[in-house]
Symmetry: C2
């Protein structure tokens, strides 16, 4: 009994033939080119189930042993459960055996079949006709093929605690995924050994119409394909491997297409040959076949093109020239929003046109449970910001602007901006003001808007962006720590506190007290007075520790550090294995991480009952300084020329606001955030300018985008795909783009004046912990920060960053050092008297970046940063000319010799890749 490979090793002659000139396709590829047309509709998603024949007692039945949606899931025999989805590792052997099976077996394409018995009859009839089986065993085969099917679907009786409460079986069953891909069909693989056969019985069936063949498939999806392999006893293992190979082929994008469109046996064989041609081989000595390979994070694009057909996948191992070409960093594109229109208010007009259509959806798309958490998180950030900022402001302006103004301004500016701004995901924060400077700045901003000046943002590369946002993050972190330290100073730990001497601390009447005798204070019992009374009656405190408040510093530290580390831990918990994902992601942990931490430590503080410093919000709606109203008169105490002289400082303010606003906008609008509704740099700036004037008149602070909180806002609104094939990584889908959360945050901020009774329970150290978290979290994922960490890692432990593959480590370090130096200079400027020229220095960052062009090659900069647009354009044109020359040359050459010309990839980011694919498609890499 054996499967005789008839045209021995024919596949080899077909596929691995010798080298031939341009345009050559292997016969297999040539064949497939005829049946696969790109204009065709995509074929349905295939679900494959493999059932094996079990003999138990005298009974036979088909038992599900594995299934494939995209990856393989095996039934763990003993464990009675599904294995984790894994990449199917096949043996080359079984693939060749499968090929032989299809060459010798019976192939029925487009069979009209509506029930399993009828289909089985047709298969057997065909086999008898072709003389593959003798008519005597007809009945036996039919009997075997019609045995009952048992599936691994029944719920286990004893479920894990974590499973309880799950409403749908989504996590264990591929049905939810299949029902999303609307026209799913099934292919069934039946493998078994029987004693009455002396050679294998093989059949491959494609039905004309997918049909539900009662009980054949685990999920209610109609069957389109059926592969049967019955063989003589004793080779279960081989048969199983062939079955797995067939099933794996059926879920392969290319082969499943071929299977749907094959005209005959040869087409199917050609499909296998193409599959073999693309296959990735692991040497046996370097890999243990028993390891189940986890599905990769990213799959190669599932869309194959006809042009790629017949090109063996030479990139295995990475490093071939075309692979490097694909690896080229995505070009620095800020989109057409920043085009210089050249018309008056041209950009603003385009922004408005772009934003109006989505205005309604900006509201209803905000109704989601995630928004609640986002609002709470950002609200707490904003209010902490408003209060600490208000406190500082009050000190600086002699209370002309204080906490009340800060609240009101935040609420007003925030609501207006989120309602009408170009990018409502941006959160505003305050800056102190003077009326005339504000008016000048407003005017200057409007001029910038009218002249499309925001287009210069194009010159802001990752260098500037990351430098600026790191700086802001560091400021956040340092502020949080500073404020925490100030608590330590205010409520120090008293190392000299001698509990033993507590009895000797007392109020001493002193000299003044003597005089008080005149005022008839003689009746006073000085021993009974509290500290306050003692002082008010002119006594003095005896004993060093009198002013000391115990436990506060320690508790504050515990609250501060606890809030921070609990938030970090809860955020990490999202990635852990405990509790069902749904539960973890949606409701409990991740989104509410900050809220839960705050609640926990507010609770702890309440429980301790110590007088930690608490959040205090104003309770009455009136200007902080009682001697002013809500409107500031434009011509007040200042001389008239001040109105004009304000122009100069206003310019600095304008630069700062412009930079602050637009860099934040660039960061929020980053391509990796996958925003779909477009942005509106001009519109943003317009409203910032208008609000500036309004605020100036009302004596409120000015408002501009807050980098860290805006990033936190984006982070708290991220969406991930819910239904993916088992084993597939959930994809980041984008951000909930809407105005609702922003508006709610600022409405709440305004309303906070009435929330004082609740808010007063929140200790300040908890809020500082939130600040610290925000600062640290916004450093996350910044390449600059990753590069800094490289300094501490030995080369062999460094992560496999793509820029490290292309830029020498010393250049990477040099680039990082330049950035560190720039930030250090900015930091020093910020903290000294030179703070006034700080905004200009941020502009300076862009100049530094420009000079980096002289030190670093464009190749290095493309990987570490982005190419500046002008360069880009110029080089592109150069490149075009070069390429034309090259194309001519390449026609003599037959094949890309890109590897020898690294400069080719350097200069034309963004343009070449497309060109390159086209170019490659004309060439084959065949031997």
């Amino acid at each position: 009994g054996s499967i005789q490979p008839e045209p021995k090793a024919k596949h080899n002659t077909q596929t691995y033939t010798s080298y031939s000139p341009i345009g050559f396709l292997s016969p297999a590829a040539e064949r497939l080119r005829h049946i696969l047309r790109e204009e065709d509709e995509p074929t349905p998603t295939l679900f494959t189930e493999m059932d094996t024949l079990q003999h138990e007692g005298g009974e036979m039945e088909w038992k599900e042993s594995a299934r494939w949606v995209k990856f393989e899931e095996k039934v763990e025999e003993g464990g009675e459960r599904w294995s984790k989805p894994h990449v199917s590792t096949l043996s080359l052997h079984s693939l060749f055996e499968l090929r032989t099976c299809l060459q010798t077996g019976c192939i029925l394409l487009d069979l009209e079949g509506y029930s399993l018995p009828q289909i089985v009859d047709d298969i057997i009839e065909k086999q008898v006709q072709e003389g593959l089986i003798t008519p005597e065993i007809r009945e036996k085969i039919s009997f075997v093929l019609l045995r009952k099917h048992r599936h691994q679907t029944k719920k286990p009786i004893h479920r894990s605690l974590a499973d309880i409460g799950k409403s749908s079986p989504s996590s264990e069953c591929p049905l939810s995924y299949l029902s999303h891909s609307q026209d799913a069909e099934a292919s069934n693989v039946l493998i078994g050994e029987v004693d009455f056969l002396d050679k294998p019985f093989v059949a491959f069936v494609r039905l004309a119409q997918a049909a539900t063949l009662g009980g054949l498939t685990e999920v209610p999806v109609p069957t389109r394909f059926l592969f049967v392999l019955l063989g003589p006893n004793g080779k279960t293992k081989s048969y199983n491997e062939i079955g797995r190979a067939m099933a794996t082929l059926m879920v392969d994008d290319l082969f499943s297409d071929v299977a749907y469109k094959a005209r005959d046996r040869e087409d199917l064989i050609a499909g296998i040959d193409e599959f073999l041609d693309e296959v990735i081989v692991l040497p046996p000595g370097e890999w243990d076949p028993k390891i189940r390979i986890e599905p990769p994070k990213k799959l190669p694009s599932s869309v194959f093109s006809l042009n790629e057909l017949g090109q063996p996948n030479g990139n295995a191992g990475g490093g071939a020239a075309s692979a490097e070409g694909e690896d080229l960093p995505a070009p620095h594109e800020l989109g057409e929003e920043l085009k210089f229109t050249g018309r008056f208010c041209g950009g603003l007009w385009l922004d408005i046109k772009r934003k109006v259509p989505g205005f309604l959806s900006d509201f209803y798309e905000g109704f989601h449970i995630q928004s609640v958490s986002a609002v709470l998180f950002i609200y707490l950030g904003c209010i902490t910001n408003a209060i600490t900022f208000g406190g500082l402001l009050g000190d600086a302006t002699d209370n002309y602007q204080g906490v009340m103004e800060s609240f009101l301004g935040t609420a007003l500016a925030g609501v207006v901006f989120c309602l009408f701004g170009g990018q409502p995901l941006i959160i505003l924060t305050g800056q102190p003001i003077r009326l005339w400077i504000g008016l000048h700045s407003c005017l200057q901003c409007l001029i910038l808007v009218a002249t499309d000046a925001s287009y210069i943002i194009k010159y802001m590369t990752r260098f500037t962006e990351e430098g600026f946002s790191s700086l802001i993050s560091f400021i956040f972190i340092s502020d949080a720590l500073k404020k925490m330290m100030s608590i330590f100073n205010y409520y120090p730990i008293n190392r000299d506190f001698k509990p033993d001497y507590i009895t000797s601390y007392r109020c001493d009447p002193g000299a003044r007290a003597l005089s008080s005798l005149l005022f008839n204070f003689s009746a006073l019992d000085w021993n009974q007075l509290s500290k306050k009374e003692c002082l008010s009656f002119g006594g003095s405190l005896v004993g060093k520790s009198c002013k000391y408040v115990p436990d506060l510093a320690m508790l504050s530290f515990i609250l501060f550090f606890g809030t921070y580390s609990m938030t970090i831990s809860l955020k990490k918990f999202k990635a852990s294995r405990y509790f069902p994902t749904k539960c973890r992601t949606l409701l409990l942990i991740s989104d509410f991480a900050i809220f839960m931490s705050i609640m926990t430590f507010v609770g702890l503080d309440l429980f301790m009952g110590l007088k930690t410093p608490k959040l205090i919000v104003p309770t009455e709606f009136k200007p902080t300084r009682p001697d002013r109203g809500w409107i500031v008169m434009p011509f007040g105490k200042n001389p008239w020329w001040m109105c004009l002289a304000s122009f100069a400082p206003a310019l600095l303010v304008t630069i700062l606001i412009f930079m602050d606003q637009q860099i934040t906008a660039v960061i929020v609008n980053r391509k990796e955030n996958k925003l779909k509704k477009g942005c509106g740099y001009h519109l943003d700036l317009f409203w910032v300018g208008i609000l500036m004037a309004v605020c100036s008149f009302m004596g409120l602070p000015w408002y501009v985008a807050a980098t860290v909180i805006s990033i936190a806002h984006i982070d708290s609104l991220k969406m991930e795909s819910e239904s993916s094939a088992p084993g597939e990584q959930p994809q980041f889908l984008g951000v909930r783009e809407q105005r609702l959360t922003g508006i709610l945050v600022f409405v709440l901020t305004g309303v906070s004046v009435f929330l004082a009774p609740v808010l007063q329970y929140i200790p300040m150290p908890v809020l500082y912990g939130v600040f610290l978290y925000m600062g640290v979290a916004s450093l996350h994922g910044i390449q600059f920060w990753e590069r800094m960490k490289l300094f501490l890692m030995p080369a062999k432990h460094q992560p496999d960053f793509v820029f490290l593959r292309h830029v020498p480590l010393r250049r990477v370090h040099l680039f990082t050092l330049v950035q560190i130096t720039c930030l250090a200079v900015l930091w020093i400027l910020k903290s000294t008297v030179a703070a006034i020229i700080f905004p200009v220095m941020i502009l300076g960052l862009m100049v530094v970046r420009k000079t980096l062009d002289l030190i670093f090659s464009q190749h290095d900069l493309a990987w570490l940063d982005d190419i500046l647009p002008d360069k880009d354009k110029k080089k592109k044109e150069d490149e075009k000319k070069k390429k034309e020359k090259k194309k001519a040359k390449s026609e003599e050459h037959n094949n890309g010799d890109e590897e020898n010309q690294p400069t080719k990839f350097i200069l034309d980011s963004g343009y070449l890749p497309l060109q390159n694919i086209h170019y490659c498609s004309e060439v084959t890499y065949r031997f």
Copy 2:
């Protein structure tokens, strides 16, 4: 220009021929069987370097592009660095092309060659002879092949900070590994394209003697093999892939053997065919070839046997029957140490014979830097233990035994046990005593020793072991927390403390003070008195907060939690990427984690200067109670019959000590600890018994193995391999088995009496933190604990534990629940008056385990626990009979049908696997 595959696809006919009966080998395997003989010496380790020809300007040179020791390391062109070692992913295409190359190219085996020019001449001569090239291009080829070689060895100018201070280039260069495998040789692969060829020039050379061909190889290792592929322009990528395939083959264990022993071209081809037969295939749609696959944690055994030759690796994907056979849990073997000898003191005698030879090495093997850290760690654990235990003991015995006795006893018993005990890695801890009970127990222990009673430990399975050690861990954790809470009670947080009223806390002379007037206390200024003075003069304190010590509770908590979490973090840091591994592992972080944490928080405590509770050790060497000497008289105050009546309680003590001692010994001697010097259960018990009597006479506590600290001791002495091929995981080599660390710990404990001035700076909360860490750390890696966590995980997130593949989840949960119940009962017993029968209940665990045989199948128990020995023996015999029957049957069957008979693997763990390999070797799985 092309490589024409001459005997087209011949490999296929050779390898994938049809099914044939027992004993069949493919022609390729048949061939290899002739040249590979198992009695041969192993061939040298091969280092492979691939150089590609670079054209720069008009110059040509060979540039290293990748290297292989076991895994591939590529030169990152742009990054000028080595990539991480990764599994070579090849395309099937390139392997077939390579096969064609070897079929058509020129093969020179055992060439006498001592210099590159001579070898090149020989190659070209041969090619000309065979008519493969025309004589005209002789010079050109020779010129190309003799170009300079440039290697990726030069150190980068700007190194990472972390690299500085590294003495050897070991981490980046495979030399250190190669120099360890003593007879390493190199194979060189040269790949290039030139313009003067119109078809490829291929040569495979094996030198008769390995020779250093100046500058050809990066490392100073002589070259044995040379593969040259020069081809016409335009196909660099194809050529590179062929070169990678060749290099990967050269480092394959089987192929490199073939290459060393091949007699002719056909042998090499057969080698490739065998390689292809074993190859693992990944479907292109499920894997991105650009992903570099990290080397697996565990490689398949590199020793291949001739018997396995020609058997395709059907286990890919896991799940074939024979794979399951290998997966069977290692049988529960405790070694011959626990054999019942049947002779008087037979076991003890064997123990002594076993331990004597290693006695000397037990000392000199202790001299290692790691020992220092281990001693410090365990010393701190012991001393904390001794102090807290001593304190409790003092309370319980009215100071007849106190801290001093605890110290002395620990030191004495520890030193003696570590000097003479069977397993010196065990650390002893105290139990309170009574003289006569001690003498009885000693006698009972000696009887147990003399009768080899320890052999019943065989019935102690993982169930009992893990139950007991979890219990001890939980006790550790709960003790640490309880002690911490007691600090909170002792120094409470004063929620009512009103700093404002500090002036009103004072000393009130009260009624007594009035009477004190008689004693001329009238001069006393009550206001000036401290708390103590006030009370001593009979005054009373006024004000609620007088007794309150501020900040202590908070600081204690910070110290406690800080020590714990810093230790945990530092331990984790070992696995991080920062700083060179050497630095991290040996000196800085991991081993000293606990020491560094203790120092940090002792420092913090010192800095704070608060009066936290400190470690206080006795400073004078005398019994705690001054009215007794160091020797206890056997016939003292008690009536004579007490001497006899002590027998009954002594029995309970003996059981407890026996269980405690032997379970700990079993845990320490676990197979996964890879101890080599053998253990001595009888000898251990002998010394425990003797020490019991000695301690009893001296009025010291008794000493018995401390589970948690012994595990910590083992953990702190673990060794890992230092030299492994790039990418290979370091292997756990075993534990530094020696007596030195133990002895030092206990000598230090004894000397601690004189260390009091230093030790008094250590705050108790820090030590409690260490306790907590020890308890938590000893839970790590316990399967019971892992199973408990499963309750909280949804099925699809559960880790891929091997027992989950074989046992249904509900059975796993049931088993865990039984264990939890047992522990809960034990816990309750321990904390109530029933504590006295606690030792008997631990024996009860073994009874529970026995009854589990009724509830669970032996299959499930084999995975979750171990099979009890009797069962094992009986079944083995049954199995033997069965197997003989089966063997007869299998000869008709030709192939294993194990999959259908799962019971076969269940019952004969430990015996069948060997038998099985033999059995398999007679059968082939070929189609």
